[in-house]
Structures are given as structure tokens and as C-alpha cells.
């Protein structure tokens, strides 16, 4: 038994038939081959599967694919535009905000949700914003530095005079 669903994933309309019990993360990874979204646990704790659904960070292991029917989904693969890294991607690279890289996509998506809400977060706000995302490699130190850096770049971008390159 399957259900027909339609999603807009990273700007592209995708229609598919899914078993109702399949999770959004399974559909993204297995049916749409978007393997940048990872699975690190089975209790919705680790946050490695974080994506955006209609602009909000969601743990895609906690949502059935059928629940996302009609939604816009953004994954890590949709963060860079025209080959240009998202400020968070650039900052994670610059600040060594990742080691094994497994938590990184979810971490970036959680951080992007924060930066949608505020472009001037304190370190404390950053740490609370990513507390649903585990990283076992970095001790979070450089992740916080990367998010702080991305926020600064975003602010500088927003403050730049219109029309100036």
C-alpha cells in the first residue's frame, strides 16, 4: 500500500509513491538519493537528519514522508546556490567546524534556522539553538565559532549597499 505525495525538494517538484510508514529521511535518502541528510540515532536525539520543511528546521526522522506532502523541503544539497557556498557552509569550512562530517549537514540546517530568526545571536543562543544536534568530534567549540562567523557575514551582506558588488 502506498500513498502518492508531492514535495518541492531544493526547489524541484518531486512526486512519488511511498509506504505510509516511511519517514521523510528515508524518502530523501533512499528514494531521492539525497544522502547528505544522515541518520545517527533512532530516538530523534542526534539531529543528523535535520532538514527544513516549509522554512523550519525539522528532524526528518520524526516526520512521516506523507506528513510532508505538499511541503517545500530544503536539504544540505540545496544550501549552496549557483556553486556558491551558503555562509554557514563557508564558515564551517573556515573555522574547522567539522571533523568526521557526519553531523555537519544537520548542524548546518539547524544553524540556518537560527540565522533565519536572528543574525546576531549570542554564543549562548547559538549553543541552545544546536542543542538538539549532537557532535562527538568537535566539542562544539568551532561549531559555535563557525555559526558566529556566518552570522557576521550575513549581517555584513545585509548591510552592504544595494547594487554594490
Amino acid at each position: 500500500m502506498t500513498e502518492h505525495i508531492a514535495l518541492v525538494v531544493n526547489g524541484q517538484r518531486r512526486e512519488l509513491d511511498v509506504e505510509p510508514r516511511r519517514l521523510l529521511v528515508q524518502v530523501l535518502r533512499e528514494d531521492l538519493d539525497l544522502t547528505g541528510t544522515h541518520v545517527g540515532c533512532d530516538t530523534s536525539q542526534c539531529g543528523a537528519c535535520t532538514v527544513h520543511v516549509d522554512g523550519q528546521a525539522v528532524k526528518s526522522c520524526t516526520m512521516l514522508a506523507v506528513q510532508a506532502d505538499g511541503s517545500a523541503v530544503r536539504t544540505i544539497e540545496g544550501m549552496a546556490t549557483d556553486g556558491e557556498l551558503h555562509p554557514l557552509q563557508a564558515a564551517f569550512w573556515e573555522k574547522h567546524g567539522l571533523q568526521c562530517g557526519f553531523c555537519t549537514p544537520g548542524m548546518i540546517m539547524a544553524a540556518a534556522d537560527l540565522l533565519e530568526r536572528t543574525t546576531d545571536p549570542s554564543d549562548e543562543e547559538i549553543r541552545y539553538a544546536i542543542e538538539g544536534n549532537f557532535c562527538r568530534c568537535t566539542g562544539y567549540h568551532n561549531i559555535v565559532a563557525a555559526i558566529r562567523e556566518a552570522a557576521a557575514v550575513t549581517r555584513a551582506g545585509a548591510a552592504a549597499p544595494v547594487g554594490k558588488a
Binding site: 540515532c41 530516538t43 567539522l98 562530517g101 567549540h141
Partner: protein, 798 residues
């Protein structure tokens, strides 16, 4: 030489794929015709298997095959590659699936292969097993007692091995005659490593060639191939190819041979070559991937009233779980007991280790592996001793540090001499300046004011020190090897360097990256040696088909051992190139100088050939000196003369809430001496991550089994993994005392943070609670545990 690339904080080359979601981890791989495997795991910690009925499961949709222990009993048990050296080890290792008896919750009982992962899991639920529960023992001390349930016939009283090190008589005498002796029991609790990617394997047997390819989440694919071939499946080694794709963290837990690496390969052959994938769930990872630590220790530290330590006697019971994992007995012996001297001159040390079987998951190396346990014990002991004699802990440390003029330091307590008499000394060190730097940054001597201020807010503020040394860069073979410390193989590392016709360089290494950044640091080493642009050097690793044999990545050995192999291979390239350049420049080899990627004739710097020009000449091969082979392609194998010995002092400052017992880590200062840094960005990152794993042990993490052997902390909801919001940023500084035994001057850094931080935080909490008369608390220092301690100290109803 273009040395600026070595030591530069170059952004990591592996990151673009990880930040864009283009990494390729095991579970991302899909192969045509691929099947999924699932394991039925025992819900009992100890039980006889009366019968298994797989009929219903076999009839389930999508099920391809169902196997039980009976079907796989011709496959050998997994090997134990590191029995404790020089003593009898009662070895019992896991089988692919249990046959008659299960000995821990999570042990595999049946294997299902189906078209999809969901179908395989559905079918697992349809298997009916009739178990006869047996008595269970999960505590290692209880397992040694008379009348305890017995796990294995060949291990009376559940003893794996008894192993000793040091000077027994001298230690007894030192303790007997000491002015002060402090005794304490401390428990080093069991931990779950928790890489964010779980483990697994995907195997394909090729019916055309009778060859196996096994993708695995492994830190040591060459060693896995060797073990599977030589000990388990009996397949010739060259018929197996092992590949570690991108690996999402490991921390030791992915060093070992696991059943899935074998059963996926075996099952693929049974299925005529259909690929079989197994990826464990997080809950399975908690049950069935190895755990770390789990010691019960009684120690006595002896010394003089003025603070000189004269002796240390340690008795440790190490819980190794229901079976031995690949290198389990080596951890509490060689990597723990031999480190009990720490950075101090302790004239007499004696340590007895008893390894024990219990009805729990297997315990093996976890980040730091033995050395965090040793450091935690020693640094708690120093604080207890200092407190007993009323001296400052920093002063006692300073008084007992190995003086800088005594390096290379021969450990007088006998810890450095292995079982066959080969002795290692600590090559270099200068401990006091490092500690003083940490104390200055922390404001150690002005902390009283902060304590008073905190008391006014209802908090107890404490400061804790941890001074450590680490033995890392696990090698040399002659010291660790079978006749000495029981390690069943070599511990050298390898690298190959090729310079192609276009001047581009390919480096292959036998070590394996699972987050450390080998693709960046190895390229830095080789680019610096050859004087070529960093971007021209590609590093390949983790595939037995494309890399020279190597022992893999653990024990902070990739840079210290593998990095030197890469440097040596590059140097061989330079030596061959020098001869070719001499030929090209019509000069004598002895007159050729090499610098910044250029071979020039001494005295005529304009007469020069770049290494790229030489590589072109070597590749086309039209005009080579007589007898020279074409192409620049050199391999080096490096077996170092010594371990490397990083050291440092970490200082933690905590505030304990009087009302709730909650501990807030407010500052953390780490001053480490890891020698020269290949890439400071990566070095700092390693220290940060290491610190948090140790802080996790001090404050939150604990793998808990109930008395009947259920893993109570069996999911990420129950096991308290550190979160960003629980932690401060870290204040890092350094001293640099290059390793004198390492050609690159580097020491290991991957484990230092974890080795140091548990004791620093624990000491800080005990310091905070000292006004209440509390002198020791076991870990983790969770709010309830601390609250109870505060209440009992105050004489309340706790």
C-alpha cells in the same frame, strides 16, 4: 624547502564534500541487487537457547534468507589479537551468531537477509526463540566472587587474565614506611563511544573471480582484511578487498573486527554474489559495539609530609564484557598500568590487573584507551594526597614532576620495561612551565576571591588540575609485539608517494581517516618535503586495493607514525630525483642541492631543474642514468624507535549549585605540549573534541546495566551525551617541546584532551565541595549524585 605549508592552519581539503552533503558514508552506498541484513539479538544477558523457529520469518515478504548459529558454526570465532603479554589469557571471543548460549543482551542469535531493511527488520520479529534464562552477573567484582555465575568453561571465576607490572617489594616497603598513606577506591565507569555514524558493513562476493569486496566503517581496513582472511573465513588475504568509505567518527570503537564484517561477506557468497548491507541502529550500537573504561580500582599512594610521593600501589579489576573484543586485554595492561607513573618521579609502583568476564557488552579501547583511566586515578590520588598533608595540589605536582634535565627519562618504577626486557624511556618533556602557564591563565592563585563571590550566590566554586603525559603514536613493533606486550602483529605504518608526469603527486597511506583530516595533513607533509604546491598533492587512503599495508588509525599514531612514513617516502623521491637531476644538469650527484622544489648545481643556482621537470623526465624515461628505473614512485615503512610522549596541564573551573547539585563547567583551560604542529587548526580541533569526551565522563556519561543485564542507558535518550548548551568554549594554549625521537618533531594529539579532562573536572567538583568535607565522589557527577553528597555532608536526609 617550502616549509611554510608545514605548520600552517590550512583549511581542510575533505571539508567541501562534507559541508555540501556529498560525503560518501557506508549507508550512502547502493549497489545493484543489494540486500539488507538484520540481526535478531538476545533480550537476555545469559540464557541457554533451547530452540529457534525461523519458519514464519522465512515466509515473510521480501525475505531472502534466515540463518542461525547452527548454520554459521563452521565459521571461526573472531580472533583476539592482543592478549595481555607474558601471562595466560583465558580467551573467549564472539561467534557470528550464538550457538547454544547467549552471554550478553544484544548478542546475535539469528540473521535475516531481505530485499529491504524494513523487510529484514519485520522478519526478525517473526523469529521465535525459546530461551532458558541463566543467572547473570554484570559487576566485575561480583563476577570474581565464589558462587558467581560462570560465563565460560575455560575461565574459572570469570578471570580473563591476571597481569602485574612494577616493583612489588619496593612498593610494599615504600607504603609500609611512609609518613603518609592515602587509600581510596575509585570506579572508572563504563562509557559508550558514540560516533554519530553507527557501524556497519556491505559486502559483495564476485562469483567470477571468487573475490570479496567489503565496505566497512573501519579505522583499520588492512587489519580487518588480515583478520578475516587468516582467522575467520580462511579466505586467502588477496581475495578480499576492504574499503572504509568516509567514516563518521569512531573514537576507538571502529578499530575492531565485528561480526557484521564477516557475515555480510559470508552471506553474499551464500546468495551467489548479491551484495549484503548491514547498518546497525543506534540502539544496536549501544548494545553491540564496544564500550570503554569500566574499572574498579583500589589504590594507596604513599609519601612524605612535605609532599614527595614515594609509592603507589594499584589493584584494578577491569570488566571486559562477555567476550574479548579484538584488543581488549591490551588496554588495561600495557596502555593503562604502564602509564601509572604519569609525569611524576614515583620511585616505586606496583599494579595488579584482573581482567574479568561479565554478562555485558564487550569493552575495548575508547579514546585514550587506558591512559584516561590511569590519568584519572593518578590525578585524583595526587589531590587526595595533597589534601591529606595540607598542601596545594599544584605545589605537590611541581615537586614530583620529572625534572627537565632527566630526559630521556628512564622510568625507575619499572613501567617502561616490557615483558621481554626491552625498555622505552620518555624522550622529552618539561612539565612545570606548561602547568604554570595553565595556572596563570586560570587565575589559580586568585581563585579564593571567586569562591567567596560564588558562595554569596549559593554556589560552590571549585578549581581542578590535571597534569598528564600520554604514550601515543602506538608503536614500536619490537616493544608492543608478541614476545613483549602480547600485541600479535607489527605497529609500523606505511606510505607511498608517486610524482606523475604532470608533476601532480599522489600519496597513499596505510592509516585511515575518520575525521582527523589525513587528506590535508599528509598532503602538507609531502608538499613541504617535495616543495610542490599543496594543491598538487592528493592523498588516498582506506582501500586495501590502492594503499600499502598499514595498521590503521588509533592511539594517536597517524601523524607520528604514518606521517613520518609519508615524509620518508617523499625523501626517497628526492634522492632518486637528485640522481636524475644530476644527469639532466650534467653535474655530479654530490653537487646537487635541493630546496623549494628545485634541484640546482652548487655554486650555479641558475643551473636548475624543478621537481616537476625531473618527474617529467622520469616518466617519459627517454634519457635516464644507466640502471635507473623510470618513474618517481617510492614506498616507505616506518617503525619508530619509541612512543611519543605529549603532556600538558588542564584546569577546570566549576560552580556547583547548592540547592540542586547541578555542576556548571564555567571555564576550561588546556595547555598542551604536543610538539610541532602540522596543522594547528586540526590540532586545536582534536583537543576540543577530546576535552568534551572526558568532560562527558566526569559529569554526565555512564553506561548502566541493571542487575539482570539489561542496558538501561540503551539509547540516546538515556545516555547523556554532551550537548552544546552544557559546555563553555575552551581556552587553549601551548608549550612546544619537540619530540626528540620523532623525525617530524610531532607527538600525538588525538587523545590528549580526553586523557586530561576527566580528572580536571572531577578534581574541580571535589575542590568545590571540599568546604563540606567531601574528599571523593565517583563519576559521573550528575546533579542527583552531587545533591545527595551535599545533603549527606550537611547531615541532611539524603
Amino acid at each position: 624547502m617550502a616549509t611554510q605549508v608545514l605548520g600552517a592552519p590550512i583549511k581542510r581539503r575533505e571539508d567541501p564534500r562534507f559541508i555540501t552533503g556529498e560525503g560518501h558514508y557506508l549507508d550512502d552506498i547502493k549497489l545493484p541487487g543489494m540486500t539488507s541484513a538484520a540481526v535478531l539479538r538476545s533480550p537476555y544477558a545469559h540464557a541457554r537457547i533451547r530452540s529457534i523457529d525461523t519458519t514464519a520469518a522465512k515466509a515473510m515478504p521480501g525475505v531472502v534468507a534466515v540463518w542461525t548459529g547452527e548454520d554459521t558454526k563452521d565459521i571461526n570465532p573472531l580472533p583476539c589479537a592482543w592478549p595481555a603479554g607474558g601471562v595466560d589469557n583465558n580467551i573467549n571471543t564472539p561467534r557470528i551468531l550464538a550457538i547454544d548460549t547467549v552471554r550478553w543482551t544484544g548478542e546475535g542469535v539469528a540473521l535475516v537477509v531481505a530485499e529491504s531493511a524494513e523487510q529484514a527488520r519485520d522478519a526478525i520479529d517473526a523469529i521465535v526463540v525459546d530461551y532458558e534464562p541463566l543467572p547473570v552477573v554484570v559487576d566485575a567484582e561480583a563476577a570474581l566472587k565464589k558462587g558467581a555465575p560462570q560465563l565460560h568453561e575455560n575461565a574459572p571465576n570469570n578471570v580473563v587474565m591476571r597481569w602485574t607490572v612494577g616493583k612489588e617489594k619496593e612498593t610494599d616497603a615504600a607504603i609500609k614506611s611512609a609518613e603518609v598513606v592515602v587509600r581510596q577506591r575509585i570506579v572508572n565507569q563504563r562509557l559508550i563511544p558514540n560516533p554519530i555514524e553507527t557501524r556497519g558493513a556491505l559486502a559483495r562476493w564476485d562469483p567470477g573471480t571468487d573475490e570479496y569486496t567489503i565496505w566497512m566503517t573501519s579505522q583499520a581496513p588492512h587489519v580487518m582484511r588480515l583478520l578475516i582472511a587468516a582467522f575467520v573465513l580462511g579466505v586467502p588475504e588477496h581475495k578480499i578487498r576492504c574499503i572504509s568509505p568516509d567514516v563518521g567518527g569512531a573514537f576507538g570503537s571502529k578499530i575492531y573486527l565485528y561480526t557484521d564484517m564477516v557475515f555480510t561477506a559470508w552471506a553474499s557468497k551464500q546468495l551467489g554474489g548479491r551484495p549484503v548491507k548491514f547498518v546497525e541502529s543506534r540502539s544496536e550500537n549501544y548494545l553491540a559495539t564496544t564500550h570503554g573504561r569500566d574499572h574498579i580500582t583500589d589504590f594507596e599512594i604513599a609519601g612524605t609530609r612535605d609532599g614527595t610521593i614515594t609509592g603507589l600501589r594499584v589493584k584494578t579489576i577491569a570488566n571486559l564484557g562477555a567476550y574479548l573484543s579484538t584488543v581488549a586485554p591490551g588496554i588495561p595492561t600495557t596502555l593503562y598500568a604502564r602509564l601509572l607513573g604519569g609525569p611524576y618521579v614515583t620511585p616505586a609502583i606496583w599494579c595488579e590487573i584482573t581482567g574479568v568476564y561479565t554478562n555485558t557488552g564487550m569493552v575495548d579501547a575508547y579514546r585514550g584507551a587506558g591512559r584516561p583511566e590511569a590519568t584519572y586515578l593518578l590525578e585524583r590520588a595526587i589531590d587526595l594526597f595533597a589534601r591529606e598533608i595540607g598542601l596545594d595540589g599544584a605545589a605537590v605536582r611541581r615537586k614530583n614532576f620529572i625534572p627537565p634535565d632527566q630526559f630521556p627519562y628512564r622510568n625507575t618504577s619499572g613501567l617502561g620495561a616490557n615483558r621481554s626486557g626491552i625498555e622505552l624511556s620518555i624522550d622529552s618533556g618539561n612539565y612545570t612551565p606548561t602547568m604554570d602557564k595553565a595556572l596563570t591563565i586560570a587565575g589559580y592563585y586568585e581563585i579564593g576571591k571567586a569562591k567567596d563571590e560564588a558562595r554569596r550566590r549559593g554556589k560552590y566554586l571549585g578549581i581542578g588540575i590535571s597534569s598528564y603525559i600520554e604514550a601515543c603514536g602506538i608503536a614500536p613493533s619490537k616493544w608492543f609485539g608478541l614476545p613483549g606486550e602480547g600485541w600479535g602483529a607489527g605497529l609500523w605504518e606505511s606510505a607511498n608517494v608517486r610524482v606523475h608526469l604532470t608533476g601532480k603527486v599522489v600519496v597513499t597511506t596505510g592509516s585511515q581517516s575518520h575525521g582527523q583530516g589525513h587528506e590535508t595533513t599528509m598532503a602538507q607533509i609531502v608538499a613541504a618535503e617535495l616543495g610542490v604546491p599543496f594543491d598538487d598533492v592528493l592523498v588516498e587512503h582506506s582501500d586495501t586495493a590502492g594503499t600499502p599495508f598499514g595498521y590503521g588509525t588509533y592511539g594517536s599514531r597517524s601523524a607520528t607514525v604514518g606521517g613520518v612514513a609519508a615524509r620518508n617516502a617523499a625523501r626517497k623521491i628526492i634522492e632518486k630525483s637528485r640522481r636524475l637531476a644530476a644527469h639532466m644538469l650534467e653535474a655530479s650527484v654530490d653537487d646537487i642541492e635541493f630546496a623549494d622544489g628545485k634541484f640546482s648545481v652548487q655554486g650555479s643556482p641558475d643551473k636548475a631543474k624543478t621537481i616537476q621537470e625531473v618527474a617529467l623526465a622520469a616518466s617519459v624515461g627517454y634519457d635516464l642514468p644507466a640502471g635507473m628505473e623510470p618513474f618517481l614512485d617510492e614506498t616507505a615503512y616506518y617503525d619508530p624507535p619509541n612512543l611519543s610522549w605529549p603532556f600538558g596541564t588542564h584546569v577546570a573551573i566549576v560552580e556547583v549549585d547548592e540547592e540542586t547539585g547541578e555542576v556548571d563547567l564555567t571555564r576550561y583551560i588546556a595547555v598542551d605540549d604536543v610538539g610541532k604542529k602540522i596543522n594547528p587548526l586540526i590540532v586545536d580541533g582534536q583537543i576540543h573534541g577530546g576535552i568534551v569526551q572526558g568532560v562527558g565522563q566526569a559529569l554526565w556519561e555512564s553506561a548502566v546495566y541493571s542487575d539482570d543485564g539489561q542496558l538501561v542507558s540503551g539509547s540516546m535518550m538515556d545516555y547523556a551525551l554532551p550537548r552544546a548548551s552544557w559546555l563553555p568554549g575552551f581556552e587553549l594554549d601551548e608549550t612546544i617541546t619537540p619530540s626528540t625521537d620523532n623525525p617530524l618533531g610531532v607527538k600525538g594529539v588525538g587523545e590528549t584532551g580526553t586523557i586530561a579532562s576527566t580528572a580536571a573536572v572531577a578534581n574541580a567538583v571535589v575542590d568545590a565541595l571540599a568546604p563540606l568535607g567531601i574528599r571523593h565522589l565517583d563519576l559521573p557527577l550528575t546533579a542527583p549524585r552531587v545533591w545527595h553528597a551535599i545533603q549527606s555532608a550537611k547531615g541532611g536526609q539524603a
